[in-house]
């Protein structure tokens, strides 16, 4: 086959691969076809990779090139496979974040390589073959977005793994420093683009220094952007960085002249943007608000603290068990704390016990319960909770009136009635689960500590509420034992 034929075949394979990505994503619409959708998408990936390999072989490769390809793929693929197989489902968000980091990092590296090669040619030729204004623009965009994603995702992942302090880290002069980085980075990029376009010429070496400057600014900016954000906001940040990675990959496609990268990157960029907006909306916050800094750090929280009066009623394990065992309808409200304590199996055990006593048990799933939208569904699915028992917020809210006991496990802000009633509350307007409408409420919580919003929850001083202070996992185990003993 001639090189031209192979070129056509490769292009056709890319179109097929891109189409399979779209079909695969579409099949993720429903739980029934989602797994198949992922397979379709993986098939598209295999086709695209094979086509590129055939293309490269046709072009002729040296032994070193082979070693780089096979060695790199074996190392990365092996590590990825091992991690993906062994990691716990609760650790999903940090793994996604790590994959964002390596994806963004790879995209940035490709652009750096392109720049170094082309600029070398340009210097040799004394002109600007290949390196023009547009191309430089895409190179800079790729390097900057990819680098911000790389360090930002590593910090986000580190926060969720507990390697980096999860609380918002206050950096003195942080905002000013970020501002300086943006100005310097943009200036370096602008000069590079002008040079690429041939508007101005510079001596050898200067352009490389400018690129390194932009690169370092972007790497530091990624760290500064994510460090001040609290661990509970990380899902939104990870989702945003997912969109960034897609965009960086798309930019790499512009640089390398590869339509496959442009299409796939743009698909990811669009989906990441939508997800990010959905998550932020569910928390009644703007994306800008989360990035610029959580309200938990503001001094206004002091007044909110004293604003809630009333006393807290504590409930013992046995009391809680009796209330649950003699109810006819129980709604379980799982939250962030359950995910952290990995208590999903305990909650299911309790639910099974209650069901065996003829009690109607369902789960109220807030759109942002857990650490990502839908994360709670995954965790509960892992614990074999029957799918029909999971009720979305709009479906379950009218049922709280008829609920005997609402059992809140590690959820806080998503149950805060202040979001409905108190206009001065920072979370006013956030859609919440109407837990306070149940006949009685049991809250399993480690302490009276506040949720990530940093505000008090009037639910805890509601006369109908009994507080059961325990770690979610331990508390559930105790409850299970107590119900069994009845």
């Amino acid at each position: 086959m001639s090189a031209v034929d192979v070129g056509y075949l490769v292009s056709l394979s890319f179109i097929l691969g891109a189409a399979l990505f779209v079909v695969g994503l579409h099949q993720m619409n429903s739980p029934a076809t989602a797994r198949n959708g992922n397979m379709v998408s993986a098939t598209g990936m295999v086709i695209a990779i094979s086509a590129e390999l055939v293309h490269s072989i046709q072009g002729g490769m040296g032994i070193l090139n082979w070693l780089v390809i096979i060695g790199g793929l074996a190392l990365g693929g092996g590590l990825g496979l091992r991690t993906a197989r062994t990691i716990g489902m609760t650790a999903m968000p940090q793994l996604v974040s790590l994959f964002n980091a390596v994806g963004g990092g790879a995209a940035a590296l490709l652009a750096i390589n392109d720049f170094v090669g082309l600029n070398g040619q340009r210097v040799l030729a004394g002109g600007a073959p290949g390196l023009d204004g547009w191309r430089t623009l895409f190179i800079i965009a790729d390097v900057v977005i990819g680098s911000v994603t790389f360090t930002g995702s590593l910090v986000a992942s580190g926060k969720l793994m507990g390697v980096v302090r999860s609380q918002p880290v206050h950096i003195p002069m942080g905002r000013i420093l970020s501002g300086i980085l943006v100005v310097v980075g943009v200036a370096a990029g602008a000069v590079l683009i002008l040079a690429g376009a041939g508007v101005r010429t510079y001596d050898t070496g200067i352009l490389e220094i400018l690129l390194v400057t932009a690169l370092v600014c972007a790497l530091l900016f990624g760290i500064l952007m994510v460090l001040p954000i609290g661990g509970a906001d990380m899902p939104v940040v990870i989702s945003l960085l997912n969109a960034f990675t897609g965009t960086a990959v798309s930019m790499a496609g512009f640089v390398l002249g590869n339509v496959m990268l442009i299409v796939a990157g743009a698909l990811v960029g669009a989906s990441g943007a939508i997800l990010t907006r959905l998550m932020a909306t569910a928390m009644n916050r703007s994306i800008a608000n989360i990035i610029v800094g959580g309200f938990g750090a503001a001094e206004g929280t002091q007044s909110a603290m004293s604003g809630v009066g009333g006393s807290v009623r504590e409930v013992s394990v046995d009391d809680a068990a009796i209330q649950l065992a003699y109810a006819s309808k129980v709604v379980i409200v799982p939250g962030y704390g359950l995910a952290v304590a990995q208590a999903q199996h305990g909650v299911r055990e309790l639910a099974d016990l209650l069901e065996a006593r003829g009690i109607d048990v369902s789960y109220a799933i807030h759109p942002v319960a857990g650490r990502m939208p839908g994360h709670m569904n995954v965790l509960l699915a892992e614990a074999n909770v029957p799918y029909p028992q999971l009720k979305e917020m709009d479906e379950i809210n009218p049922e709280f009136d008829r609920t005997d006991v609402a059992l809140v496990v590690g959820a806080n802000d998503v149950t805060n009635p202040a979001a409905r009633a108190d206009k001065s509350s920072p979370i006013y307007g956030m859609p919440i689960l109407d837990v306070d409408k149940a006949k009685s409420i049991i809250v399993i919580k480690r302490s009276m500590g506040r949720g990530y919003a940093g505000i008090d929850n009037p639910l805890y001083v509601n006369p109908k509420t009994g507080m059961f202070f325990a770690d979610a996992k331990k508390g559930l185990q105790e409850l299970v034992a107590a119900v069994k003993a009845l």
Binding site: M28, P31, A34, R35, N38, S56, L79, R85, V102, L267
Partner: protein, 104 residues
């Protein structure tokens, strides 16, 4: 970059973004985490770019860059698809009864 290429790339880019919005905004919240993971593996397509760069590398710096890019992108692709599949496997075992929607 010649103008014809630029226009072609931009056309594809804009249409792909619109297609992405269209396809993805229909996914229910329940599947958002698997979806994030699924799109996460799709950006592993950067591996295709890495192969292209590795194939024409001819100096120590570009060998090094290509190797790291290959390893990064390889981890992204393989890990991304495997973990998404693991997650979706859990959803699949439980069929949703057809009557569930109306049973209150």
């Amino acid at each position: 970059m010649i103008a014809a290429d630029l226009i072609q790339y931009l056309t594809v880019f804009v249409l792909a973004i619109l297609l992405g919005f269209e396809v993805i905004s229909k996914v229910p919240a329940t599947l958002h985490t698997p979806l994030m993971s699924g799109t996460n593996s799709i950006h592993g397509i950067v591996l295709v770019g890495a192969i292209g760069v590795a194939a024409i590398a001819d100096n120590p710096l570009s060998y090094l860059i290509a190797f790291v890019a290959m390893a990064f992108a390889g981890a992204n692709v393989v890990g991304g698809y495997v973990v998404t599949d693991r997650m979706l496997q859990m959803f699949r075992r439980r069929p949703v009864p057809a009557t569930d929607k109306f049973a209150k």
